[in-house]
Amino acid sequence: MRPIALFFRLFVWFSWRHFMKHRVRALIVVAGIALGASVFTSVRLSVHASLNSFTKSIDLITGRSDAVLSLPGGRVPEDLLPAVLQQPEVSHASALMTTYVKAAGDEMEPFLLIGFDPLSDRPFRDWEAQRGTAGSDSPWLGLMADPFTVLLSEPLARRHGWQAGDNLTLAHDRDHAIFRVLGILKPEGLGLAEGGRVALTDVATFQEFSGLHGVVDRIDLKLTAAVSPVSLEELGRQWADLLPEGLQITSPSEAGESGRSMIRAYQLNLSILSFASLFVGMFLVYSLVALNAASRRHELAVMRATGASPGLVFALFLTEGVLLGAGGWLAAIPLSGLLVSYMLRGVSQTISTLFVRVHVDTVFLQPWEVLLSFGVTLLISLLAAVQPAREAMLVEAGEALTTARLQRSRKDSAGKMAGVSLALIGAAVPLSRLPAVAGIPLAGYVAILSLFVGFAMLAPWGLQRFGATVSPMLNRLAGVPATLAGRYVRDSGTRTAISVGALITAVSLFTALVIMVHSFRETVQLWVHQTVSGDLFVAGKLSAVNHFRDPAPERLRKGLLRLTASVEPVRSRRFGLKTGNFDYELDLLDLGSFLRHGRFVWVDGNPKALQSRLIDGEGVLISEVFANRTGLEVGDRYVAQVEHFAVELPVLGIVRDYRTRGGVVFYDRAAFTMRYADPSWSTVRLFFRQRPEDFDAALTALRREIIDRCGSHLEMVAGEELRAAILRIFDETFTVTFVLLLIALSIAALGITTTLAVQVLERLPQFNTMIAVGAAVEQVRSMVFWEALLLITAGEIAGLMCGFLLSYLLIYVVNVQSFGWSFIYSVNWKALAASLPLIVGTALLAALPAIRLIFRQPPAILLRDR
């Protein structure tokens, strides 16, 4: 215990009191770390809340089933239920149906309606109605006895002011009906599914309401024996005669695995992005600890001369870093509280838009996440302090008498660091070619880190060269102060240069994200205009929210047959399928008509040569995401079970598609009808054969005609509106990204402020000497201004270079390995040209406090102190 107590006594005497003496510097660093840590924590907590909500909802709906009987892309015959129940392996079975419905009034949010048999479902799922709301002590009996009754979850009822006994008009994609509210569910079990936005009804009512007679979405099973994936396969073989073609027995744990893995990938990417803020904060810690080590060199020598071991000095400085990290983390707690409420909304919206529907109202403090944020913050602070602590440790006791060898060692280290940094930058290339590990682009992330560290370490050598190059030019352009500034930049040494690393990191992140988002947007825009083409999109009500899984209502299908000849329809049917744990869509569409008006954005394959083969149904097109997930290439065979049909077709080409639910496989609808069966269609897009002169009037007339022929129980959206909506959603999904980026830039600005302020304070005697030999105060200020400008410019140039490399990694490695998609590389020169001077301006503003520090006291007083 004594050595520890002694260490902390020395720490208080030596380090803590020094911090207290220069508390503003320490507080700025703590603030930077706090910002980084709060971003990291709040992002992780927000995504975790979404993941938790999704998993919980899936688990609540899955209940205690051991196995699930389902038909890929279709529904299970209801009459299978009694047959399955007779099997000796089955103890209980329950049929389940789900769909999103909407109450009357278009402003209402859709919610999940679950149809089940309240009696046979009791062994599977828990739910209970609130006392006195269901009219009887057995609300499950009520659901069965009274058709068109529902039990509403408590949050849903509260949100809309619905009570037991109320009548609601609920709309499905084919029809609408009046339901009576039988009662309100307790906030437990199924009552909490979908974030508490759920309603329960009897399965017979559900079928009556949806028109899906004789089928159910799935049959959940409880088995008599313990279950393993192998035993489920075995069971499938045993029931081969019992089960119709295509029916599958799967583990309930597979449900939602695709959604979970997509959210996890998003969480990882956002965590990495938010980690960048912490990484920038790392430079602040480095900067301050290195300053302490450099400015207290003589004290260190005295310590060493009086008997302090190198290890003790190392530990003292390392502890300084840890203290700054711990302080930053503590300050991050209230900041995270503020940030998380914003992040929660943004993150859950993005996840709902891009991946799976989630409802998150509250965030729970996860001990693991708190521990992780504490550990990561402390670790990066510790790592940031290692190099300065090592330098402090190497101070020789003899320096108590002399300081002669300092300058030479600095120049040596700049050269050595340049070698290491080039190796690190070079290492990014082979790293970027390594495959993902379990779907995580680990090598890609290491390559990014390698780039960041490499460019930061290149800064000392880069500044030496930059300073040496610009100094002579500056003399002619801006006189002596600018020349001196150039010389200072040349000789500024490792510590100042590494601090510029914070700016390099932030600017490179900015550049890379601007390029990536622009490339993404440009590609999506191209895709939207070519592939999501069409003048009017028509589908059954709520068809989109239910992923177009059901054929369009008959009235709509028949009505569209009699439409005016001026429009050409492209009908489509989508099947939600699964390969491994990955959800995708099989999109059967009228390829002939589509290719007359629209186009795919090709990644692999010859569009002209393949057009007729595609229309003839010789093969499928697969999306880039599907190709990357499955490893399928042009020429391979696509194999799938679609309802009762085993589909096997060659892959003719690979195209880009940014649909929200993973990959897509395209095939001609007519060819599918010929080879297998008529899949009917769920959505149609209409193209004017010739663009009308008054387009808006023609579109209005077309809408009116459709309503006249097909009724109003449908959704119509103009192509222009749909494309604009997709791009608007796209822009919204990157709001969180840009907020994180702004925070990283703010931390870099704090770094500039600290570095320059420290440089000014350190060199006050030098400035006073300049005054003594005839310099004007304004000349000294001008010199410091030029120093700031040169450091910031050098940081921006290096940041830009790093950013371009980083953008390549993000687009072609991280995105491909995380989400399966890449984009057409496109640089937004306008945005870069407009924003980079803005960053220089902001950084110069951050330098102002340092410039103001000069001669805040009269030089005479400072000289006297000296």
Binding site: R17, V302, A305, T306, G307, L312, E396, A397, G398
Partner: protein, 229 residues
């Protein structure tokens, strides 16, 4: 104690500083023997090698040639950790510019070497108070260095040098930053340590204040002994 009852033995001691393409000689083939209890005054002009010799004796620097043994420790071959232990227990160092740590109080500065040697603060505090009382600094023990006069700073440095009861006190220009009254007082203190507490004291100085107390005077010139009395 070393061979021949000498506390310090230097044989052909050399310290050369490489400075770019040329070498600067700090100490050149110096032979020296000092017995316990002596008060040695080393004199010489700037650049004569006084501070270099003191650095070598203090284990703050290593010879580039020859041998140096102090209190049985071969300083030319000692490891870094042995040198650290040596500085803690054998040597007490007094600097011209005091070299007190600015964030530590007088009391804390005085205690520092003992704490670094692993002694508990409670154990060393009483001894430090005694030393400060002896040096007339007891009323200043909670002050920071910035609140002290030059004489008080140097007396604090002496307290720090004595806290581990070292055999040898090395003083590098101890009066260089003091006025004549304080300078004389400091020299009296060092002489008293030698006379009353049998410490070996080595003072490198330009001034003549210590001359009357010296048992041995060494004159250095260009890193070599130019005269001895």
């Amino acid at each position: 104690m070393t061979d021949g009852n000498f506390l310090i033995q230097a044989h052909q001691l050399t310290r050369i500083y490489p400075m770019g393409r040329t070498d600067v000689i700090g100490i050149n083939r110096l032979d020296l023997e000092i017995a316990p209890g002596e008060l040695v005054v080393i004199k010489g002009n700037s650049g004569s090698g006084k501070s270099t010799l003191l650095s070598l004796l203090a284990g703050l620097d290593r010879p580039t040639g020859g041998g140096l043994t102090v209190a049985g420790v071969d300083l030319a071959a000692a490891t870094e950790s042995l040198l650290t232990r040596y500085r803690r227990s054998v040597i007490g160092m007094v600097f011209q510019n005091f070299n007190l740590l600015p964030t530590l109080t007088v009391m804390e500065n005085a205690c520092l070497p003992a704490l670094l040697a692993g002694t508990a603060y409670e154990q060393v505090a009483g001894k430090a108070v005694d030393l400060l009382r002896w040096l007339g600094l007891e009323h200043r023990k909670d002050h920071l260095p910035s609140q002290l006069s030059g004489g008080e700073l140097q007396r604090t440095a002496i307290a720090r040098a004595l806290i581990n009861q070292p055999q040898i006190i090395l003083a590098d220009e101890p009066t260089g930053n003091l006025d004549s009254r304080n300078g004389k007082a400091v020299v009296e203190l060092l002489a008293g340590l030698n006379r009353d507490r049998q410490r070996t004291v080595i003072i490198a100085t330009h001034s003549n204040l210590a001359d009357p107390h010296a048992t041995c005077m060494i004159h250095l010139k260009d890193g070599e002994i130019a005269g001895r009395a």
